[in-house]
């Protein structure tokens, strides 16, 4: 059926080497997804250990030291090694397909970003066997993070987070270039799918916020190892400076975590309501507004730091303001499903669950914006409840919805829907059982980041409930894993367009060919694919357009004799230099981490520089097209 020939060397399309050298955005997306899922299991295990320790008062399962490392790594893992890479997985796989492109703008940079992420996350985890993992909380407040030098744990933090940030930055640059320059003919910006829009917004958020924390982290490393005094109060430095630098990144970061999930839900709801997205332009503009305003609220994480009434009033107000575009999106999602013909597939259940859970988390967030109320909530479990509602009930539910929605496109098979619905309900109940009690615990005064709590304060019952809930979540995740493994091999076969979709990724086969589209489509509408399938009859109902069947637009090129008249599609060649360069950068990072032991540090630094230069020079020098062999 293929009507175009590709000129990328296809000698190795299977086997480990083909994955190591791939620059295909779809394969890179799959690697991101698998890595993110593995880290999800690791971060989840850390959470279960935390919950076991806190199930009873004065728990003895974990020492304070072990607990502090576990909760720090739980936060770092979930943010940097799970949510960001799973968003990157979806963005990598689907943005080119949704805009009608064959790959991203910079395929080798794409591969580099993935390998850098994977090696950096593994490097961070190696700390467990080299004196212990970072134990300063994921926010790493100075001077705790700069003063304790008995171990190099916080050097691992400073470098690990730095490297992961570089990987995300590389991805952001790629997506911005791709989305602005590689859209199919006729796809104006306001005809792009919402998921692609959210990708470009988050890419700008990362582009502008990562350098700030990058600088801050260098300052931590230098304060620890090279005698600088950025955060040293005793020398006119200022610990508060770190809090500002961290949160100027940290707040846009949480929108980076949620916006792609909102984009996914904005695609799933219309498909399973058989209605277009209500107020498409406002959903897009609200995403942009959230991104923009997200840079103006950072000090709401610092309301107890003594900023003074003027600053606190300003940031409190700005934080309330950001609830408006968020509310617009929520009402538009409700408007999408209102009066629609709903199909309650697992993807739809997770999307509806997302809306409900995100509203709860958003409401507790609005209570934080009231400064005098926040001073009671700050550093209590009420805050922990809030962010888990928006990050798990919000982001994770959205990404799980995406798994059920897009699995057929990746693999050509459906996930088991019955098992999926069971998995949804178990996860939903377990999630609420775990985190709803934390609102009460926080308002009752239980502080966060404490490895144990005393008897007699009324914390016992809710903590036990939360622990039971966390094991239900674990069961839910296990069921998802079983569903993925089982369906990958034996799932029901899925066609190109299993859900009667609206966006361009459903026009190509499941899974897509390496070149994505035989013929680049010409776009006339938002949800262009839907309009190719359906016209409208006299009563305004959708009517299937007869010429297009099966949801796949087939193009004959050159009649029967495809070989001669078929046009060649050139795909980017695989390369091993991105993985080499990524490895070199991580070795440089390792050298810097060990700066307190100069012999080890300099050796690794030198080795890393050599490997990085080899990778970069090879990358720059290799021919863009390689001969097929």
């Amino acid at each position: 059926m293929a009507v175009a020939t590709t000129t990328a060397p296809t000698a190795s399309t299977s086997g480990l080497w083909s994955w190591i050298t791939t620059v295909d955005h779809k394969r890179i997306g799959i690697m991101y997804a698998v890595s993110a899922f593995v880290f999800f299991l690791v971060g989840g295990t850390e959470a279960l250990l935390i919950r076991l320790q806190l199930a009873t008062p004065n728990g003895t399962l974990l020492s304070a030291d072990a607990y502090n490392q576990l909760f720090t790594m739980h936060g770092l893992t979930m943010v940097f090694a799970v949510i960001m890479p799973i968003a990157a997985a979806y963005q990598n796989y689907f943005v080119p397909l949704q805009i009608g492109a064959r790959d991203v703008a910079f395929p080798r940079l794409n591969a580099f970003a993935f390998w850098l992420f994977l090696f950096s996350a593994l490097f961070l985890y190696s700390s467990f066997v080299v004196g212990g993992a970072p134990d300063g909380a994921w926010v790493g407040y100075a001077p705790l993070s700069t003063q304790l030098k008995e171990f190099i744990r916080m050097d691992y933090y400073a470098i690990g987070a730095q490297l992961l940030g570089v990987a995300s930055l590389a991805g952001s640059v790629n997506f911005i270039a791709t989305i602005f320059t590689m859209r199919a003919p006729g796809m104006t910006l306001l005809r792009m799918p919402v998921f692609t829009w959210m990708t470009v917004v988050t890419s700008f958020l990362l582009l502008l916020s990562l350098p700030v924390i990058g600088v801050g982290l260098w300052q931590i490393l230098f304060d620890r190892n090279f005698g600088t005094l950025f955060y040293a109060a005793q020398a006119q430095g200022d610990p508060l400076l770190w809090q500002h630098l961290f949160w100027i990144f940290g707040h846009p970061e949480v929108y980076v975590l949620i916006l792609p999930a909102m984009g996914i839900v904005s695609e799933i709801l219309p498909v399973f309501s058989r209605k277009p997205l209500f107020g498409y332009a406002f959903v897009v503009f609200s995403g942009i507004a959230i991104g923009f305003l997200g840079f103006g609220v950072w000090a709401h994480h610092m309301f107890t730091a003594g900023l003074g009434p003027v600053a606190e009033a300003g940031f409190g107000l700005a934080t309330m303001l950001i609830a408006i575009p968020t509310g617009v999106k929520i009402f538009n999602w409700i408007g999408t499903t209102w009066g629609g013909k709903l199909r309650l597939t697992t993807a739809m259940l997770f999307s509806l669950g997302f809306i409900a859970m995100f509203v709860i988390g958003g409401l507790s967030g609005v209570t934080h914006s009231i400064v005098p109320a926040d001073t009671q909530q700050h550093d209590s479990y009420y805050i922990v409840a809030h962010f888990h509602y928006v990050l798990f009930g919000g982001a994770v539910f959205g990404y799980m919805a995406g798994i059920y929605y897009w699995f057929p496109k990746w693999t050509g098979r459906f996930l088991d829907e019955k098992l999926g619905k069971v998995q949804f309900w178990i996860t939903f109940v377990g999630f609420n059982l775990t985190f709803a009690p934390m609102h009460i615990l926080g308002l009752d005064g239980m502080p966060r980041r404490t490895y144990r709590y005393p008897e007699g304060l009324g914390f016992e019952f809710w903590n036990l409930l939360a622990t039971i809930g966390s094991f239900l979540i674990a069961l839910g995740v296990l069921l998802l894993l079983i569903n993925l493994v089982k369906s990958y091999r034996k799932g029901a076969p899925a066609p190109a367009d299993p859900w009667d979709g609206r966006t361009l990724e459903w026009t190509t086969s499941s899974p897509p060919p390496v070149h994505n589209f035989d013929e680049i489509p010409v776009v006339h509408h938002v949800d262009d694919f839907w309009y190719r399938k359906y016209g409208v009859d006299e009563e305004g109902r959708a009517v299937r357009v007869p010429e297009v069947t099966g949801g796949t637009v087939e193009v004959e090129v050159g009649g029967e004799d495809h070989g001669e008249a078929g046009h060649d599609i050139h795909m980017p060649s695989p390369s091993y230099f991105p993985i080499i360069a990524a490895a070199g950068v991580v070795v440089i990072g390792a050298g810097l981490t060990f700066s307190s032991t100069p012999l080890v540090g300099f050796t690794l630094l030198g080795l890393g520089v050599i490997v990085t230069l080899w990778g970069l020079m090879g990358w720059a020098g290799e021919p863009i097209t390689k001969e097929a062999h």
Partner: protein, 167 residues
């Protein structure tokens, strides 16, 4: 190719107008509360050197100072890993009590449990907050900013006495 117009659904437009009006109302309310009603939020009072702060007045002698008997009190507290000095102290009910708290090492917090009196104690910075205890009794306070291994046990208590000196 036709250019498309932005069609705003009337329900959507009304919702957005209503939201903006709510925002204006909230903004005015916050301004009134902050500037006219004198709602207290923690402020940075002054800068100190954490290396010498415990050796110099007033933190060389931390604790309660009576400025106007029964009405005005100051409490100077030093936070360090992992205790507050003084750990326990007394103030009378109904008096204005101003806390001055600083740290000698890393970030700490000071929170009176079940109240919104919660502020950071950072080295190099004195945090100041004024409050009034309405009811006598013993209140615990805890460290709220994660400060390391002993964070979970860093706590103290304040006894609020009746006029006449009884708790």
């Amino acid at each position: 190719m036709t250019t498309e117009e932005l069609h705003v659904d009337p329900a959507e437009r009304n919702w957005i107008v209503a939201s903006i009006m709510l925002l204006v109302v909230f903004g005015v309310a916050v301004a009134i509360a902050g500037f006219m009603l004198g709602i207290q939020v923690p402020t940075e009072e002054q800068r100190v050197d954490p290396r010498t702060v415990a050796q110099e007045a007033p933190w060389s002698n931390p604790g309660v100072r009576e400025l106007v008997p029964g009405e005005e009190y100051e409490v100077y507290i030093l936070a360090s890993r992992f205790s507050f000095v003084p750990n326990t102290f007394e103030v009378p009910v109904g008096a204005r009590v101003t806390f001055y708290v600083t740290s000698t090492d890393v970030q700490h917090g000071f929170k009176l449990q079940d109240t919104n009196v919660n502020f950071m104690a950072l080295p190099g910075q004195v945090s100041k907050l004024t409050t009034t205890f309405e009811e006598p009794g013993t209140y615990s306070y805890i460290c709220t900013e994660y400060c390391g291994l002993g964070h979970a046990v860093m706590a103290g208590s304040v006894t609020v006495t009746e006029p006449g000196g009884n708790a």
